[in-house]
Symmetry: C2
Subunit: 356 residues, 2 copies
């Protein structure tokens, strides 16, 4: 199978973790006889430095032409003071919008080997949890009108949260089908006691529910959901929510695993196209030291093989090797505990590539 993958290493530890993921991809290609055309493009702070903007045209065009995009991490204090029109975040939001990546899938699963790292109480983490947050990614208050204006000698600022029926329907479709492939429980998180947009989400979800009779649907206010993720994460299977609530909840959901460096994510467009990235940041403080954890990126690669390239056997193989890596007592610096053996970023990439 021949596939084209655009790779955006980005900033900070981005390049070094991406290098490990590419190693693993190459090992998969060798083992399973695929041919992956992998090429790197400038994005984020690195692109600001080289091209004066976070999302150069060439990068966007390459992503659009590819079967999937693999990203490292973007941003850092170095670009805190660039003009706001060209900040790294602007590039990220533009990339999501231009590629139509409306469905962000954020799995939150406790690795049994890393339970002790969870900030949750032992009896809660002991029970484990395994859920996914489906976050709407190209609508809502992120992409509404933003304005700052003067009136009667005072400054006002305004942000607009808008959703259309079509936007809500397509993300809920992803959520329902995700739930069907999992434990068939879907929780819509909203603030329907306050927001009109939430009321519309809830109404559409209620009408769609009858098309998925095998899926159990429940509804939760966002404040309660944030509490429940901390107090009783085991209750969730699939959570679906709008962009801003999803931003907050998916980070809480990552935090409770205690191993943020291990978590992958997928951002999907219509069809099978998607962008894959670890959920952690660019960690400029440890960049270049070969101690970053590449596993979040490597597991993102597994999601890419599965969802965009139709290679689920290969995806499972990577996941199995990661499990075996942990079982054998190897750890990255950020997940190291007494008695375990630390491997460097590149050594982890080597291990996983070899084991494939």
């Amino acid at each position: 199978m021949e596939k084209t993958i655009a790779v955006l290493p980005g900033d900070g530890i981005g390049p070094e973790i991406i290098q490990q993921a590419v190693k693993v991809l190459q090992a998969v290609a060798d083992k399973y006889q695929h041919s992956f055309h992998i090429q790197e493009y400038a994005f984020g702070g690195a692109a600001i430095d080289r091209h004066g903007q976070p999302l150069p045209d060439e990068t966007l065009a390459a992503c659009q032409a590819a079967d999937a995009v693999l990203m490292g991490a973007v941003g850092g204090p170095k670009w805190d003071d660039v003009p706001k029109e060209i900040r790294p975040e602007k590039g990220l939001l533009a990339l999501r919008k231009r590629l139509g990546l409306y469905a962000n899938l954020r799995p939150s699963r406790l690795f049994s080997q890393l339970k002790a790292a969870s900030p949750l109480r032992a009896d809660i983490s002991e029970q484990g949890f395994d859920f996914v947050i489906v976050r709407e990614l190209t609508g809502g208050i992120y992409f509404g009108n933003h304005q700052t204006f003067e009136e009667d000698g005072q400054t006002y600022a305004e942000d607009n949260l808008r959703y259309s029926e079509a936007e809500i329907r397509r993300i809920l479709t992803v959520a329902f089908t995700t739930a069907q492939k999992r434990n068939k429980k879907l929780c819509l998180v909203d603030k329907a006691n306050v927001l009109d947009s939430s009321k519309l989400w809830r109404k559409i979800c209620q009408t769609m529910a009858s098309d998925y009779p095998d899926v159990d649907v429940n509804y939760m206010y966002v404040d309660n959901a944030a509490m429940q993720i901390v107090g009783n994460p085991g209750q969730f299977d699939t959570i679906v929510t709008e962009n801003m609530f999803g931003d907050i909840l998916s980070d809480v959901a990552s935090m409770i695993t205690g191993s943020i460096g291990m978590i992958p994510s997928a951002s999907m467009a219509e069809g099978s196209f998607g962008l894959y990235e670890p959920i952690h940041g660019s960690a400029p403080d440890i960049a270049g030291q070969n101690i970053a954890n590449p596993i979040g990126t490597i597991l993102s690669t597994a999601m890419m093989l599965d969802y965009s390239l139709g290679l689920s056997k290969e995806a499972r193989a990577i996941e199995k090797v990661v499990d075996q890596f942990l079982d054998q007592g190897y750890r990255s610096a950020d997940t190291l505990t007494p008695g375990m053996q630390e491997l460097s970023c590149s050594a982890i990439g080597d291990y996983i590539a070899q084991a494939i």
Copy 2:
């Protein structure tokens, strides 16, 4: 000292917990020779049943005429299907707006006697935490325009988040002075990498910071803040944020204490007027069984004495008795652990009133 207190028992367990708080207030009045004029008014679901609306004019007028308002809890499934214009939440939002309660203070503190109840890992809860969230309560997306409309055969829904300089300045003033009375650390939580309103908050906070040179100010994105509250709550002293972020974060902050029934809150207007309520809900499933935890309401009464009635000695006395109650091994049903002695809702009220 003569003071008028309007009491809104509300729904579910509201009336029974309020009864205990009133007992305690009367004990304070006797002991310290004050005269409190305490009168109950209909609010929430109870008011919908009796008057066809959640916030009757008489109730609003009584609150406006009082020195402070004490509230129980509002809402419940019984009113899920009432027309949305008269839902209990509408009454709550109208009450906040009409009374000008723009500053919601939500303390999050781990009772040393209840550490084991925290859902956080033992070594995190062992370190304890004690911070307060200052939530803006009468602005932002809660009170912006909400509209649902049809266009080109599709339904759209929109909610508007707006803040004026004056609204931001007055809540930040509360936050800075709160931090000054505490450990002089203020964290502004926003989403300034996406929202214009957040950028305005940050800009105003930066300019105000020089007026409070003794306060250390830092800035955090809301997604990160939600994670940090779970992973490292001990880092916070005073958090300030806009209405919706505050709704979510203050519930996470309550959850990590593991004893939601114990937590008070204050919602302040300009001057010393305020409304006080426990942070938990109306818990209709246990209403009338005399097992609810009245301590959140009793500690709300302490905040009322302190902030609205200028009676801080009396407030400290209540807090001391609650501490002593826990030290002696008494517990409410919701915080009961092996070896402790359970007291009913009314028995807890009796104990605290007597000890005063």
